[in-house]
Symmetry: C2
DNA sequence: TTTGACAATATCGCATTACGATATAAACTA
DNA sequence: TAGTTTATATCGTAATGCGATATTGTCAAA
């Protein structure tokens, strides 16, 4: 018989929040293991996906990449450097605005990403219901 | 007019995967910023939540914490060390099995977590629909 | 055309996190 | 008692990302 305290979370809500994090960490752990098994780092994997999966385009500028990965600009530059060293992406200067540089996947980058994305797609299909359930619980008004 | 290639992802699917990661990184970025504003590190925050939100209990052993955070045992030990230093948790030896040590939140830990969890709860309520939509797209059969 | 803004790059040092490898001690169990 | 489990500890290593700061090249507007 708990009092209705609007701002205070109850045990069940803490459990739901924790369960969400647990599911998240399991997914991330899966993802990091998969990336490393594919011979790249987790961040490199996410960068490849951000480029290939950019809405309406298959190439992005460094600024766009930084935003999609929620990184500072110069952190994104460093990440791209490492990707170029690994021949996973290439830099292509823009013609319209010559300050900009487009980042594109190399064929090696595309293959590596395709492999990983297929695995992730399957995994997320499995996890979907679990996450949906957790969101429902979080959103439920009667608690 | 794309051929039905069972194992090959199309652009839309890459975009959905990338959108999911983007949403995830935005949430994580929010969470990390919030934790740091509360004066603790993101990992400390997640540890606090894992303890407080452990199913059916408000204390956990180091092994349990490691599993919930998907960490190696000795990495969890280090994390607990830092939490103890910050007076966010305390170690309480178990009576039943004296090899075990229970980790409990201190009152400071509880307050810090409550503050953060309230914010996260609200944020996740907002993000719920977006994530659900993305999962629906991932699961959609007709692509 | 000059001035100011923007995009990318670069360097430095720093902090955090987590790992593998390895070891020890204490406590439990068969 | 022997073997296993739990927690702790140490060492070196790696990846990531930040702030601060600076430079270069390019664009756009006054």
């Amino acid at each position: 018989m708990e009092m209705a305290r609007p701002d205070k979370l109850n045990k069940a809500q803490y459990e739901t929040l924790a369960a969400f994090r647990y599911a998240l960490r399991k997914f991330i752990h899966f993802s990091e293991t998969a990336a490393q098994a594919a011979g790249i780092t987790p961040q490199q994997h996410q960068a490849l996906l951000a480029i290939r999966g950019f809405p309406g385009r298959d190439q992005v500028t460094v600024s766009e990449l930084a935003e999609r990965l929620q990184l500072r600009h110069h952190s994104a530059v460093g990440l791209v450097d490492r990707l170029v060293t690994e021949k996973l992406v290439s830099r292509v200067p823009s013609n319209e605005d010559r300050r900009q540089v487009f980042i594109q996947l190399t064929s090696r980058g595309r293959k590596t990403l395709e492999n990983l994305s297929t695995m992730h797609h399957k995994q997320l299909k499995q996890l979907g219901p679990e996450f949906s359930l957790l969101f429902e619980r979080l959103t439920s008004v009667d608690e």
